[in-house]
Amino acid sequence: MSAAALAVRGLSVAYGTAVVVRDLSFDLQPGEVLALVGLSGCGKTTVLRALLGLLPPSARVDGRLRAAGEDLAPNDRTALRRRLGHAIGFVAQNPFDACAPHRSVRAHIEEAWRALGHRPDPARIAALCDRLGLDPAMLDRFPHEWSGGMLQRANIAAALALDPPVVLADEPTSAVDADNAKAVMACLRDGGRSVLVVSHDLDLMARTANRILLLENGRIAAETPAGQAYAETAPGPIRTFARAAALVRPPEPSAAPPLLECQDLVLVRGARPLFPPLSLRLRPGEVLGVVGPSGSGKSSLLAALAGRLPPAAGLILRDGAERPPRRGEVLTLFQNALSSMNPRWPIERVVAEPLTVGPVRLARAARAAAARAMLARQGLAEVDPGRRPWQLSTGQTQRVTLARAALARPRLLLADEPTSALDPRQRCLAIEGLARIAAAGSAVVLVSHDRGMLDRVCHRVVTLDPCSTMRP
């Protein structure tokens, strides 16, 4: 165990009587990329935070740690935190939470040196920027001026600033697209570094890690060399996990005339065009993916297609004519599903809202029954339909809005990052719901930063910002 860069024996974390992580043991070998994968709430992030001494005092941590030939007490949080930066690097999941909003990103990176009383090294910062494809001129701007994916890379630069031999990364690729994700992973392991990475993206881990540990309910359920994660010989739990994350593609659209057509569409923010003139056509039943970095105008495009934002130039034709959308023709699925529901209404009433309009008046009981049937089709049969939206999990709220969309039967469904907060199993269910709506004849525009998912789910994918600044 002395050879390992980080050795963990019998790690347990409990909050009161609730045990979150149970008796976890693993070695992180020098130069190895070890992936911890699992569904939301399986304890992945808790393991990382325990190893870094970043858990709140209410958490009880037990077990033994050994790093670089030195024994560490897992509940001596001060000693663990003293290792941050020079002995162990940490990349937090949400880059915006990790940066102080009132300080420039350069100050955030320089903090790595200043925390230890050293002088920042401009040459090292420049080298890291170059390696990670960051524009050095951007460094003096504030975090809110950065896109999520770029800021995530700046965060990685901060974690690698002092060149620690071990890096712990929590979903470091959640905000970047598939090509950049591989580059980020390569950068993390630069120079034979040991990397422990937490992710729910089994696909990416199978391609970029050496070894994969599957976590279930705070225990290691299975272990496999990364190359064999999708092999027939992979352990049962890993095969189940991979199957649950498999995405379905809706059937090919009909040859009906397009219901929506954009010709040289230009949208502006201030005076600056958001993307080059865009032309596209959508047929009933077609699923169109829109991918692009944050700030490239994905949400603005959806607002324009919904008729909320007038285009600066170009045409949006509906059924071949330039007209505003009719009531009930377009429906938006918001990224934050919870905010798109009336918090005072039971989910049954939320789902039934589309039935309160239109020529046919349904009795309240009939509406409720239809809503319940639709909730059941979205896999929410076991959830009490009298619950309020805020009493549900994120994945469940997303599926409630899908049930509502299925009852609304819009001709055009605009989905804004509907899966970004979901784990693979929930994401798979949400995509299934979208595919069902498309199969019923609605055209779907699906916006996401997850290129890999779009490639598997959509009939066509439009990239809003084709130029990538990331180097391989």
């Binding site: 909320r308 009531r327 429906l331 798109s340 009336n342 039971p346 309009v357």
Partner: protein, 294 residues
């Protein structure tokens, strides 16, 4: 009492919601249980006052002045021989009813002004909000004194003055809540589905404005009771011979050394009333924002 209290700073966030079982949740909440019980007790006493009162509240009896509590006069008599219990019950209607009227008025005015500003936008919004700025820039006490100076002392004038001093804050909250609710994804989805605009306003916007205002109203009720009492104590509110808790306090202070019960009873009533409304308001706030409770 007038203006921003510490508690008002932690006003419920817009879009606050009552849960499924609102009455049950109120009874489960310790503050809610006690606040409700005390409120019902006080309101019951005020409503049944004329039947409960053993004597006419304003009838002097110069043969029985400054009697200590005892049979016949359970809470004693004042300097003119009027029955203290009867006057407390009679005064409850003015203290509590006045506070309720002022609170209802400022909530309604705040709701109307705030919603109008948020929904009409442009120059109506700008004009209304600058007016609100002016009123909020003046301390509430000064506004109330100013209005009373214009209208002259009196119970009804006092209620008008208190309402004039406090509506602006509610209008601001209402505007913020309405703005957020009108642009919320929930309202946008309803419009896309084809729900008519009046129903979007009634079902998605109005509750998001009304509910936070109701919580604020209960929290402010105690302050209004104290304000009415304070102005009556200064002689600017309820006029002789009518009873009101603050006015009774004012009259009793001349005889405090020989008849302390005259001071204690109305003071205790004011205290209990303020406590009850604060407990109730706190419970409502917790129920409205369950995730904010610590």
């Amino acid at each position: 009492m007038i203006g921003l209290s510490r508690r008002a700073a932690t006003a419920p966030r817009p879009g606050a919601m009552p849960p499924t079982d609102f009455p049950a949740a109120l009874l489960r909440h310790p503050s809610g249980r006690w606040g409700l019980a005390l409120c019902l007790l006080l309101l019951g006493a005020a409503a049944a006052g004329p039947w409960l009162a053993p004597h006419p509240p304003n009838l002097p009896d110069y043969a029985a002045t400054l009697r200590p509590p005892g049979p016949g006069h359970w809470l004693g008599t004042d300097a003119m021989g009027r029955d203290q219990l009867s006057r407390l019950l009679d005064g409850a209607r003015r203290s509590l009813g006045g506070a309720a009227a002022v609170t209802a008025a400022i909530t309604l005015v705040g709701l109307l002004v705030g919603s109008l500003a948020a929904l009409s936008g442009r120059w109506i919004d700008a004009a209304l909000m600058r007016l609100v700025d002016v009123v909020m820039a003046l301390p509430g006490l000064i506004v109330a004194f100013g209005v009373l100076g214009l209208l002259g002392p009196g119970y009804l004038n006092l209620l008008i003055a208190l309402a004039a001093a406090d509506w602006a804050y509610k209008a601001r909250i209402a505007r913020a809540c309405a703005l957020e609710a009108v642009r919320s994804p929930a309202a946008m989805v309803a419009r896309e589905i084809g729900v008519p605009e009046w129903r979007v306003l009634a079902q998605h916007v109005l509750p998001s404005v009304l509910w936070p205002l109701l919580v604020l109203a209960t929290l402010g009720l105690g302050g209004q009771i104290a304000a009415i009492s304070a102005f009556s104590f200064l002689g600017l509110g309820v006029q002789v011979p009518h009873a009101e808790w603050g006015a009774m306090l004012a009259e009793s202070r001349f005889h405090f050394q020989i008849a302390p019960w005259l001071l204690l009873a109305p003071a205790l009533c004011i205290f209990v009333a303020v406590l009850a409304s604060n407990l109730l308001g706190e419970a409502l706030r917790d129920i409205a924002t369950p995730e904010a409770r610590s």
